[in-house]
Symmetry: C2
Subunit: 246 residues, 2 copies
DNA sequence: GGTCTGATCTTGGTCAGACCAGTATTATGA
DNA sequence: TCATAATACTGGTCTGACCAAGATCAGACC
């Protein structure tokens, strides 16, 4: 009846999706709300239950809604995992995108560190310090070291107190950790990397503590650039004698 | 049979989704490929067709796949619209997120402009120049002016030749255009904004032409900051008497 | 032989009704 | 009154069916 009116032009899936979309966007469906049952939704919209399920499933993968078995469907707060999925799929099909995603990561972190300089509180500083310490402790371990590295960078983004930046950064986590790990494997190759990793992160930390956005940004950028340089060298030649390979 | 093996633990929807996900991520399903029919998929995976449809629909809203009526299901190149949807939903439920998304936008554009300084070609320069000219021409029109402004910024991101940055930036397009428009409405309020808009964009353009990443980044950042300041003033005090505002 | 045309197969789009397994609620009995 | 058991939900899934329209191929026509 009146429910149908809201989404008359479309049919089937589109109708249900549009109907729910409207409520979601209008705010009449807020996080925490429980939707009416699938059957009821079906009869009210004049479609079959499988169609309703399609729409609900669609909203589920978008992270808008959560279907709880034998409980009901509830609206959730938008979640990271969507972007995560998206980026994972996107990158799987375009491997050359990895460098590209790295650019996005740099973009986000550099902005985040600027915000962090303004907004970070004691707790953020402490988290950064812990991560920094961890990097020092695990400097010789590939896995733990990569993890520590990642934690440090994540701490920066968290300290920005920007949900969007955090979400975006987190969505690339899977890919980033991979890249971090492979970087970590270079530690054995280039002994100089140890000091690079430790000193660089410390300098970044200090810039944040000093609440100096420009310096923090610049230092972080340099950090990324040096990392790139190491990786490049590792590609061109193995270790030292680098002339033969190509 | 052998297909089932790939996704045994899960059941129903999860099974199908995992099965397809695996193929997608492994690369055995590439953009352009046509999937086998829903019925066949259902029998091969030992589930019913509605369940298969749920999975396909899920992939559809993720922009991974496209269901073509009476044709079949084909793998597509990941598309912006997903992120668009996500951000739209996310922001609808947390209006305070808008400022936050702006931060992400700044992050992306500032990184993009750095890349643009390195990678931009003649065509990119021309596009930027056209957008710049448009800004001058439409300085007194709210709608067209906002569009021109948006085009200029988009041209910057496009000139970065980074798909990821472009996608991310595009995904916020809806929100950004809104913000751009409201900014444009300030033009009438602050006559000084005209010169600000024109000169700022020209300076940005020049920095890109000069291929000076640092200057471009800094100029762009300043541009955003000034825009913020104008908006702030518009909020605090009306129009001219702005001495109180700071 | 080559091309056009129509029957048939296949595809997605949808529906109706049914069963299961647990949850939430309610009615019942102590 | 309270604890327990029956009942009415919920999501999760399956089966089988119908429709409309693109895809295909056989046969008719040029």
């Amino acid at each position: 009846m009146e429910l149908k009116r809201a989404a008359e032009g479309e049919k089937g899936f589109e109708k249900v999706f549009a109907f729910l979309r409207e409520r979601l966007l209008a705010g009449s469906l807020k996080p925490g709300d429980r939707l009416i049952s699938e059957r009821e939704l079906a009869t009210q919209l004049g479609v079959s239950r499988p169609i309703v399920r399609e729409a609900l499933r669609a909203l589920t993968v978008l992270g808008i809604v959560e279907i709880r078995d034998r409980i009901g469907t509830v609206v959730t707060r938008p979640d990271v995992s969507v972007l995560n999925d998206f980026f994972t799929f996107a990158l799987a099909q375009q491997a050359d995108m990895l460098d590209d995603v790295m650019q996005a990561r740099v973009a986000i972190e550099c902005q985040a560190i600027r915000l962090a300089c303004e907004r970070a509180n004691i707790a953020d500083f402490e988290r950064l310090q812990r991560a920094l310490a961890k990097i020092g402790e695990t400097i010789d371990e590939a896995d733990a070291g990569g993890m520590a590295d990642f934690e440090f960078h994540r701490a920066i983004v968290v300290a920005s107190h920007s949900e969007t930046l955090t979400v975006l950064h987190g969505s690339m986590a899977g890919l980033l950790t991979h890249s971090h790990r492979s970087r970590r494997e270079l530690v054995q190759a280039f002994p100089s990397m140890k000091t690079y990793l430790i000193d660089d992160h410390r300098r970044i930390f200090e810039a944040v503590i000093a609440r100096d956005p420009e310096r923090a940004d610049a230092t972080l950028r340099k950090h990324f650039a040096i990392g790139d340089e190491y990786r490049r060298r590792a590609l061109v030649g193995d270790m030292d004698k680098t002339s033969a390979s190509r």
